[in-house]
């Protein structure tokens, strides 16, 4: 889990953060305006490719993607 948290955090910083704001495991991503709900799709596809899973669209909600912690909980559900 630790490792997954780091992987996801790194991806988010690389992909979405354009200044030097900090992202913790609990930083609100979508409600906090870091990830706009529009760009969520690449995060979803990244997770699916990386962990070889498929997250149904109705589970990939802005709420479920709103922090690194929440994302990892979601991903775990789909890892066989």
């Amino acid at each position: 889990m630790e490792e997954m948290l780091e992987v996801v955090r790194e991806y988010i910083i690389e992909e979405y953060v354009e200044d030097d704001s900090e992202v913790t495991f609990d930083t609100p991503l979508i409600s906090g305006g870091i990830v706009d709900s529009f760009s969520m799709v690449s995060l979803k596809r990244f997770l699916e490719n990386k962990y070889n899973i498929s997250i149904p669209d109705d589970k990939a909600t802005p709420e479920a993607f709103d922090s690194v912690n929440k994302i990892c909980v979601l991903v775990k559900e789909y890892i066989a």
Partner: protein, 415 residues
Amino acid sequence: MAYSDKTRGMYSDILTGLQDAGLFKMERYIHSPQAADIEVEFPSGSSLKKVINICANNYLGLSSHPDVVKAAHEGLDSHGYGMSSVRFICGTQDIHRQLENMVSEFLGTEDTILFPSCMDANAGVFEAVLTKDDVMISDRLVHASIIDGIRLCSAMHDTFKHSDMAHLESKLQLHHDRRLKMVITDGVFSMDGDTAKLDEMAALCEKYDALLFVDESHASGFIGKTGRGTHEKYGVMDKVDIITTTFGKGLGGASGGCVSGRKELVEMCRQKARPYLFSNTIAPPVVAGVIKVLEILSANTELRDKLEKNTEFWRKGLTEAGLVLKDGDTPIVPVMLFNAKLSQDVSRGLYEEGVYAIGFFFPVVPQGQARIRTQISAGHEIHHLEKALDAFTKVGKKYNILGKSKQEIIDMYGM
């Protein structure tokens, strides 16, 4: 009565909130035609003030050009005032199709379809040509109307960092499995005045078999050697698949927009785009005016050449005065002030000096990037620009920002 006191109170609270947050927008009433010199009533009820306008999208000075006004009068006489119908019932005149053909000729495309506005063109085009099997990959700074159009479309949507070609390429790879990929950008970005790297984008689109979409609203008529747009500037006239643009800025400034490009895509819009199907198109006198605009711009490059000279003069003058500008070579020249209140104060100071320019701050531009956006026109004469430079120098002195770096301004005023 359904509009109860409770409902009214709810809305007035929201509006008061906007006012308290400094986000409340107020109109200034202009009593003259749109031009370099205008007469403004501001605040509402005050006496008229003559000012130089440097915040209009009137890039070519055609908004009140005598030939355009005359053509609109003649169009009104020959084709009437309105059509009282959408295009496909009984709302299409010969001049609508004539204008579509002229736009295709001007932009170097296969076909064109008119829309009531470019907002409508952008709102309708994606849904008309893409499905849920496709992906739209847009620059993160595209115009709000494109974002709305993307929202109305069922295709998957992703973004790339502003003008970051490596990031765009990674997105094209990530989405390689979609039926169609469409890369979406503005040609000239309206807040920063920079241009999309269309040569590199076209090459990436070729490599990854993607369609290229460009909104040319702030480019048509003056960017590129003969003013055809950003695709001309970057030498990719034949590589852009869809262009949207407006007649509400450089091309006469009245209203109307279009989708122009590959003929099958344009035909898809004619069959399916909702703002085309369910809203009246451009009114006859305006169509006649835009036809004249394109005639003027096709005859020679005088106006765009003058605009280019004016822009050079303006950028050089502001730089020499010691202001911080965003780099670029378009007539959109942002004077950076970083702090929101400072941008409002400078705007007010300029107005007192007889120069009309507006401060932009968050959320219109990112936090800490407040600015005065100046926009140069072929309708400006050098004396207008000299007077506006004097005003900038005077107000800049007052706020002690001349010759100061970004960091020094931020240290003085904060972000």
